[in-house]
Symmetry: C2
Subunit: 503 residues, 2 copies
Amino acid sequence: MTRKENISELREKLQEIYHLGSALQVLHWDMEVFMPLKGAESRAKTIANLSGILHEKFVSKEFASLLKSAKTKLEAGKLGGVESAIVRELWREFERQKKLPMSFVKEMAQVCSEGHNVWIKAREKSDFKLFLPQLKKIVALKRKEAELVGYKKSPYDALLDTYEPYATSEEISMTFEELKNFLVPFLKKIKDSKNRISSTILKGSFPVEQQKKFDEEVAKKIGFDFEAGRLDTSVHPFSTGFHPNDVRITTRYRKHDLFDSFFGVIHETGHGLYEQGLEAKHFGTPLGESISHGIHESQSRMWENTVARSKSFWKYFFPKLQKQFPDPFGKVKFDDFYRAINFVEPSLIRVEADEVTYSLHIILRFEIEKELIEGSIEVEDLPKIWNAKIEEYLGIKVPNDASGVLQDVHWSGGGIGYFPSYTLGNLYAAQFYNTAKKDILNLEEEIAAGEFSHLREWLRQKIHIHGKMFSADSLVREVTGEPLTSQFFIDYLKEKYGEIYKI
Amino acid sequence: MTRKENISELREKLQEIYHLGSALQVLHWDMEVFMPLKGAESRAKTIANLSGILHEKFVSKEFASLLKSAKTKLEAGKLGGVESAIVRELWREFERQKKLPMSFVKEMAQVCSEGHNVWIKAREKSDFKLFLPQLKKIVALKRKEAELVGYKKSPYDALLDTYEPYATSEEISMTFEELKNFLVPFLKKIKDSKNRISSTILKGSFPVEQQKKFDEEVAKKIGFDFEAGRLDTSVHPFSTGFHPNDVRITTRYRKHDLFDSFFGVIHETGHGLYEQGLEAKHFGTPLGESISHGIHESQSRMWENTVARSKSFWKYFFPKLQKQFPDPFGKVKFDDFYRAINFVEPSLIRVEADEVTYSLHIILRFEIEKELIEGSIEVEDLPKIWNAKIEEYLGIKVPNDASGVLQDVHWSGGGIGYFPSYTLGNLYAAQFYNTAKKDILNLEEEIAAGEFSHLREWLRQKIHIHGKMFSADSLVREVTGEPLTSQFFIDYLKEKYGEIYKI
């Protein structure tokens, strides 16, 4: 077989695997957005079955032999840049997958599908005990997964690897520690500041249809292509891409708080732009996939926070907001509004947290998850440990499980190792944006004029179109000229909140 | 391998196949209900890929050997009733599938997926020529399918078999001929009747949200379980079941015509009740599937026409309709309303046709399809032939392709051989309902009191729960004591429309 034949056969088989992946994502999307209650059990089985077939195809003898032969060519330096990256990433994934027996993969998929519905019910009743048996099953399976996959220092690294390829919890711990060392005293300064900010001026009564209209207009203005995507409603907002031409984002609406869904939609739009920005021609290879969850989060967080909570952004959109919702915004002053949407206050719910306290929510989850997988804490003890850490880091008490350990969807679906990506996203976003400001003359003025195409295209060319061509670490060095550091994010917070709170 | 081991391994493999089938149905449902425009191309490929995998699994050596061994046991009389039916039906399907090469199945799935979107655009522009190249591809593939599958008399029978197992076009032609011989003079009598009926009293302005609310209330009252199903909006109304616990129905809304969506929803509810009425324990075998499209249509048509266009039904719902839509129904008299919803008039669009003319729409499609597949007419000539037949049977002229040959979704998805099922559904419905009236004392009084559970449960026990246990022919004999005849439907039309039009 010639090199070309081998690679083209490999690509053909890959297409089949990636289309199965797309089908699975449609099943998941429907499950969280539209599926009726009683459909849960059979859907879990359908997902488990398809996951099994996908796994089977990926580790099949036929595919393995094509991949091994390509790997040999890679090692002999016989492949070009694109092919090399494809084979490198496939091999990485293959090495992981082949260590997981078929029965294990099916069991994991089924338990995690069921987990979602068990979690929804437990959260409704705010009772961790209702979720406990299912979560124990999930954690046991994730510990087993770590053992099967293998690791150098911590079993948590084996799970982290799914979301942050090539990263280790040791490095992350160091970066997070630096950040914590800044955040704790900084938060104290803010709390002690005499500058009081009221966010009550943001409350009102906002019909869902009008919220949706406003959110969609802004998402469209930023650049989300609604002919290649949709915005729907789900319990927990998320985004998913079946293909660059079919990307789905979701939100939830609260009648009295327009900004819960608004910033949620901008966040998911950031994810959606990444998915729509991938190269369609690379669909069916790792080069058509996002690089890591952290880099994905950098896109959502940059649009949500750096852009959509900035003065420049609202110079353009505030008059439109006032027009759409004269009550209450007609009488609100711009400066008060800007300060209100950047109000800092320790609170219980991660997804409602401000930019300053958010990372503390993540750091506590990272610490808990890591210990949970390492076995130094047990599932039963989660509420107690959770509540203690919240009090230690944020100085507040958790009144019930729904506002505490049950608030996030992640663990119910087996997403242990996912949380660090959120804060990594903040760090990447600050570092990327710093470079973007140098590359794009008048970026802030453009944003103030409602012109987002330069920034969007800059992100697309610098990040999106590469897929998994580089590792996250290489990409950051390539784009910004230096490795990831928390300094840009710290500087950003200092400057922005220093001005707001006059500290 | 013991008998039990063999059968249980067969059932296990079947589960995988049926879950792939459910996944495909989710992909199709999303495609027609929610998918954004640009997603079409990649979705077609995803569907083609999954269809290929499903086919591959069904005709795999492993599955074939399990099935052959089960077939041997069936022939030796070693299987019980349930197992016999499962193996009999699987073998039937297997015999068909194994004649279709993998490449053919993939091509068909892809061409038919694309066909849907080409058809939508052609219908929008009312230009058959835009659809012609795609339809030619589809017809060529369907002719090839008939040749690959084989047939005794007409190649059309090989396609019909997908929708009406064990039926032949010869028998159908005879039954349809009888019906046509009644309908043509009967329609003439109605046209000549001096009893003029106005259906304009039904028109008004009905906000979509209110229509949806009313439709959902009625569907719920009839017995559709909204915890195991949903009602959504699509270009062409349809129903699909992923599992008895997850059944999706769709409709479309017209602002000035409440009854377009209303009767559409009742129709799809009839289909939905069948899907929800299948036995969950038989999911993953032919006993968990509907018997034929004709029997499926008998359920939708019985609820839509026999029940929901009857006096008894509206004795209960008319006051509710008047309350929900006082304008215009507050001042409408019951008798005028009843006559208006049963207004007979030859018209262009099949899905808008009344009970009397509807079957003529089907008969013409059946005649055209049959000749098209037999090769005695060509795709290019369809508009001309269509328009001529409409004039011949209904006495009206077709002004454009959108109101003529482009009106139906079926051919765009490869559904050639499907149309006869609609009229077979009318015939089955009349024959079943005749028996139901004997079995359920006071059925009409129950309906007039808004009590539908006896009829629904009768249909479930007599028809739904059996899945493919019997052939359609055996089921009709079993339930009604005699083979299918057009006489019950003819008698029903004579009695109902004889009274309405005083003929």
